[in-house]
């Protein structure tokens, strides 16, 4: 199988260091377009779509394999092998921070470090642990997703890409970044928001940067602090940002936190 096609892997720039950017739940690798390109000047920048998202090969979506985040982590290791020249730095947003972590635990020699943007090892509250959500909240999300197919219809080729600067363009291009097969989107949402990888956190040996927004509904500060406390080698950077996507809304704050971290790991 061609893993580069499967994950719609794009490579830009060149340099001694390779950064692999993983998008989170919801959209696709376009999420990195305000942050990743600046790194392509001196480094090799790899972006990809998780299987089931964006322009990945939807036929590769195996409901069993992707019923845990480990399925995605295995894919990531395959991609890192395919692009060569490791070890790489993995930059994962949201759920992909955990995917990167699982890959780093399984294949530590392939990762020099990890950047986690808005990570959470467990979204659902559990005893003293405050993930931010109850099980009923997650059901509410699944219901909202059922009401929003975001431009998806079976008659449309999922590869169509919108022209983002011209929203008034054709209606069928609207929402294309977040377009996903509804069944896959539901499944991915369930797997993401019901995952619990707190027990794996202490097993990630590589240096890790946690980029925490000061106001993030999905990944509250208490979660970032839990991670920073539990990861063996971590740096916590809280940036001034409202929302869960600082790489879109505060790319420069993200970049300065990342630059500092990359310097410490010699990347």
């Amino acid at each position: 199988m061609d893993v580069l096609a499967r994950n719609n892997v794009r490579v830009a720039g060149d340099g001694a260091t390779t950064l692999v950017f993983l998008h989170g739940f919801g959209c696709d690798q376009n999420m990195w377009r305000l942050l990743a390109p600046s790194y392509a000047r001196r480094r090799r920048v790899v972006t990809l779509d998780l299987v089931g998202s964006g322009a990945s090969d939807l036929s590769a979506y195996d409901f069993d394999k992707y019923s845990t985040l480990q399925g995605y982590a295995d894919d990531l290791i395959e991609v890192v092998d395919a692009i060569g020249r490791g070890p790489v730095v993995c930059v994962g947003h949201s759920v992909s921070a955990m995917i990167g972590m699982l890959a780093g635990i399984a294949a530590p020699e392939r990762f020099r470090g990890h950047v986690m943007v808005g990570p959470s090892p467990c979204y659902v509250n559990d005893g003293d642990y405050v993930g931010g959500f109850s099980r009923a909240d997650i059901d509410g999300l699944l219901e909202t997703m059922e009401s929003n197919y975001l431009g998806w219809s079976s008659t449309m080729a999922p590869a169509i890409m919108g022209a983002p600067s011209q929203p008034e363009l054709a209606v069928e291009l609207t929402n294309s970044f977040c377009r996903t097969d509804p069944k896959i989107a539901q499944h991915f949402a369930r797997v993401t928001f019901l995952s619990d990888h707190r027990a794996d956190v202490p097993r990630l040996a590589a240096p890790t940067l946690v980029v925490q927004c000061h106001d993030d509904l999905i990944a509250p500060r208490s979660v970032g602090e839990f991670l920073a406390r539990t990861l063996p080698q971590s740096t916590l950077r809280v940036i001034d940002n409202v929302g869960h996507c600082p790489h879109l809304s505060s790319p420069s704050a993200c970049a300065s936190a990342m630059d500092e971290f990359l310097a410490t790991v010699g990347a």
């Binding site: 909240d137 909202t144 059922e146 929003n148 929302g243």
Partner: protein
């Protein structure tokens, strides 16, 4: 701007629009809101402007969606359309709305302009559709499961049937082998007894030798039956070797032999018509022997066994009749199946009538039985003069 007659001014149009209209800052904080939206959400303007973010009016599930889909889309493509989100009315009620938004940057300040449409009816209808689809999917899954279970059961049945067939086949093969191998020691016994009988013996010794010969003859018959049965059930079926014969002559000879075999019993033969038939003479005698020994064994010991042999231009019809107690009605349907009728007097092993039927079939003929208290028991065999003719 010159207002047209009867058309409200822009401010009033905005406030009383048929949809909720809002402007928010990039972080979602409400900057401007119209009356319609205030009314729908149950909050006054001054409770919203500068004090609430749009996402804070959403259910938690919708907030996650807002963060993972709405916000990135708005940032990347500058607009979102037709997103349905659940808002929470000040009274706690859920208000589903469809939202469109455009992001506009003026003098470096980003504003999100949002139009909200109440969607309660649409929401209810969509819930029903979703519910119906889920129900259909469940039914489909269940029917698939049932189908799978059926296929599994069928497969299990096939396995068991094959196993049963194997067992039956094995048993029949065993029977064939055993009965075949038994014939050799039996013929040695018979030969030795015959030699002994020719010598000078005391009456007591003679009695014993004759008993040996009778028992040997019976055993030989039973083994022959077993072999026939095995042959009939396995492979090519019971072997017959037809030739052109005079049936009356063969039947007459067979009846003479039977009279010797059953001294003291009344056996009557009636014949009708004349002609020749293409039949295995030995098998015909065997068939008659089986029917007569049954009639003797089950019939009234004082009664007569009557044999009729009739030839017309098509067939030979043989009937064997005895008086006495009828065959129980329950036994009639399976009368000709192997080992079903208790051959009470220890004369055989339940294969006699089965072999009769097989002989008839191998000649292209048939066999039938009727039995009643008044009429006694009659078995009728019809053999075409030429098989297939």
């Amino acid at each position: 701007m010159a207002a047209e007659t009867g058309v409200p001014d822009a401010r009033e149009l905005y406030d009383r629009a048929a949809c909720g209209l809002l402007v928010t800052a990039a972080d979602g904080t409400i900057v401007v809101v119209n009356d319609t939206f205030c009314r729908w959400i149950g909050l006054a303007r001054d409770e919203l402007v500068g004090r609430r973010k749009l996402q804070e009016l959403l259910t938690v599930g919708a907030r996650i969606f807002h963060q993972t889909h709405w916000a990135p889309l708005l940032q990347m493509q500058g607009s979102v359309a037709e997103v349905k989100l659940d808002l929470v009315h000040a009274g706690g009620e859920i208000k589903p709305m469809i939202l469109n938004a455009v992001s506009r940057t003026t003098d470096g300040v980003v504003r999100h302009e949002i139009a909200a449409f109440g969607a309660e009816d649409r929401h209810r209808y969509e819930r029903e559709l979703l519910h119906a689809r889920r129900r259909a999917e469940e039914l489909h899954t269940r029917s698939m499961e049932t189908q799978r279970a059926l296929v599994d059961a069928q497969a299990e049945l096939d396995v068991q049937r094959r196993a049963a067939e194997d067992r039956a086949l094995f048993a029949e093969q065993m029977m064939g082998v055993v009965s075949h191998d038994l014939r050799n020691p039996l013929s040695t016994i018979q030969l030795s007894a015959t030699v002994l009988k020719a010598q000078e013996l005391t009456p007591k010794q003679r009695n014993r030798v004759e008993a040996i010969l009778r028992a040997t003859a019976r055993s030989t018959r039973m083994i022959a039956d077993l072999l026939d049965f095995t042959q009939a059930r396995l492979g090519r079926g019971l072997h017959v070797d037809p030739a052109e014969i005079d049936p009356h002559a063969v039947v007459g000879q067979a009846v003479d032999d039977l009279r010797i075999a059953y001294p003291g019993r009344s056996v009557v033969l009636r014949t009708a018509g004349t002609g020749r038939a293409f039949v295995d003479a030995d098998r015909l005698a065997q068939l008659l022997g089986n029917l007569v020994s049954n009639a003797i064994a089950h019939g009234d010991p004082e009664g007569t066994v009557t044999i009729a042999s009739a030839i017309d231009d098509r067939a030979l019809t043989l009937t064997v009749h005895n008086t006495g107690a009828p065959i129980p009605a329950a036994q009639m349907p399976a009368l000709f199946e192997p080992m079903t009728r208790g051959e009470a007097k220890g004369e055989g092993i339940g294969l006699g009538l089965f072999i009769v039927r097989e002989i008839a079939r191998r000649h292209g003929g048939s066999v039938a039985a009727r039995s009643s208290m008044a009429e006694g028991t009659t078995v009728e065999v019809i053999l075409p003069l030429r098989a297939g003719g």
